[in-house]
């Protein structure tokens, strides 16, 4: 299987404190991973670095076989990598506009955006929320809107930061039910999580961030 992303010596410091110094790791194309580790190990930070929201030092980086520099964040990765927050925030427009946001940003024609948003709402089971005020959605509904907002972009690498944290019961089940189709969509996924049901999903490989380095499990 070919590597989608390979990084050598990835270091992150906050002032004098070094969060991690990872000798190197690679993510395969069309592969799902869970990223585990104790709280404070740097799971979120690592995802944010991969998503271009946090600066870090890397001695080498290749994405889809192309050698790139991590800082400034490469344009090729910006178009292909989507990061979803643990607590996704909704723009105060409409649910449909939220889901179509990235497509509109990419200049996709409005008619096509409307079609794709409709399909994504059906997929996420949120079609009935079409006219809802995004601020009024529950945590689980926001997470599903956020997954739909990311899915429509068909990212080559989708980074999910604790997608089921702070969700329980039906809301958690509904989010977990969406993950296998995301895994089967052809891109790679990295999910930072503690959720055993996500860790146990078929075909998912495990990365563990421990003592500032990554272990493949």
């Amino acid at each position: 299987m070919s590597a989608l992303l390979a990084i050598e010596r990835l270091r992150k410091r906050f002032g004098e404190r070094e969060l991690f110094d990872i000798p190197g790791f690679a993510l395969d194309a069309a592969q799902a991973y869970v990223l585990t580790g104790v709280n404070g190990a740097g799971k979120s930070t690592l995802l944010r670095i991969l998503g271009g929201l946090e600066h870090a030092e890397a001695s080498a980086l290749s994405f889809e076989g192309q050698a790139l520099a991590l800082d400034p964040y490469p344009v090729a990765m910006r178009a292909a990598v989507v990061y979803v927050h643990q607590h996704p925030i909704m723009f105060s427009t409409s649910v449909a506009h939220n889901i179509g946001y990235g497509l509109l940003a990419r200049g996709v024609p409005r008619a096509q955006v409307a079609r794709e948003v409709e399909a994504a709402m059906e997929w996420a089971g949120i079609a009935r929320l079409r006219a809802s005020d995004p601020a009024s959605l529950s945590g689980g509904e926001k997470q599903r809107v956020a997954l739909a907002r990311a899915k429509v972009l068909q990212p080559k690498l989708l980074l999910l930061d604790e997608p089921t944290a702070n969700l329980d019961g039906a809301a958690r089940e509904q989010v977990i039910a969406l993950i296998p189709t995301l895994i089967g969509a052809g891109g790679s996924i990295v999910m930072a999580c503690h959720d055993r049901d996500l860790i146990g999903l078929p075909g998912v490989r495990r990365l563990k961030l421990r003592d500032g380095t990554i272990e493949y499990r």
């Binding site: 998503g51 271009g52 929201l53 910006r78 178009a79 989507v82 990061y83 979803v84 927050h85 607590h87 996704p88 925030i89 723009f91 105060s92 427009t93 946001y101 990235g102 940003a105 990419r106 005020d133 601020a135 009024s136 907002r149 990311a150 972009l153």
Partner: protein
């Protein structure tokens, strides 16, 4: 009681549609609104840029923007006077004692207020808005418009406060406008002049108009803030 008599005469002037008085109100509104319309896009973009970018001298820029809030308008008037006077570097514009000069003054006065309020609103915004926009591939321009839309109540408050500052200032309008009847006389400069002449009725009438405008603008602000608070309560 002279105050009671003057107030009664003031209402008489207002209700009789005194042309001179309403001309003064018109000049005030026109120069203030034009100055504000020109200043708003510049100041909002500057405020956003300072709030959302890291660059050398950023803290100094914030310090200067906030310090500029307390610049006396009469000092801005003096500087503009020197710039626009015949021998000044911008004398060729022939803007001294014209409405164009007054609009330039209102522009300069409004910029720091609008900038400081926008800066504060953008700094207070949840960082996930900008991050979500960036993570979904938004261009720098789209990130800005997205974020400004999310802090629109703060930006509206900036505009209303800016309007309050320009409509109520007297120093710059007096120095740059020259208080010419029918041309550059504004509500505030007219109040100063009429009071010095002992004609309190027109001064009070104009004061009533000014207070009414202030009440309306602040009422609008309260309505907007009420809406913002209820929106926050739902999060």
């Amino acid at each position: 009681m002279p105050l009671v008599d003057a107030t009664r005469d003031a209402f008489g002037l207002l209700l009789s549609g005194d042309a001179e008085l309403w001309q003064i109100v018109w000049v005030s509104l026109k120069t203030s609104v034009f100055g504000l319309l020109l200043a708003t896009p510049v100041a909002v973009v500057l405020g956003y840029a300072i709030a959302s970018h890291r660059f050398r001298g950023r803290r100094i820029a914030i310090w200067l923007a906030q310090a500029a809030l307390s610049l006396p308008t009469v000092l801005i008037g003096l500087l503009l006077y020197l710039l626009l006077s015949r021998q000044g570097p911008a004398g060729g514009l022939h803007w001294l004692f014209t409405q164009s000069g007054m609009i330039a003054g209102q522009f300069v006065i409004a910029i720091p207020v609008l900038m400081a309020f926008t800066l504060a609103a953008v700094q207070a915004a949840d960082p996930r808005y900008a991050e979500t926009a960036v993570a979904h591939g938004a261009s720098g321009w789209r990130v800005m418009t997205t974020l400004l839309y999310e802090v629109r109540f703060g930006v509206m408050a900036a505009v209303i406060s800016g309007f309050g500052r320009v409509i109520s200032e007297v120093g710059c309008a007096l120095m740059v406008g020259g208080n010419i009847a029918g041309e550059t006389r504004t509500i505030t400069t007219a109040i100063a002049l009429e009071t010095s002449k002992g004609d309190f009725a027109q001064g009070i009438a104009l004061g009533i108009v000014l207070v009414t405008i202030a009440l309306l603008m602040n009422g609008a602000l309260m309505l907007l803030q009420g809406d913002a608070h209820s929106a926050r309560g739902r999060l």
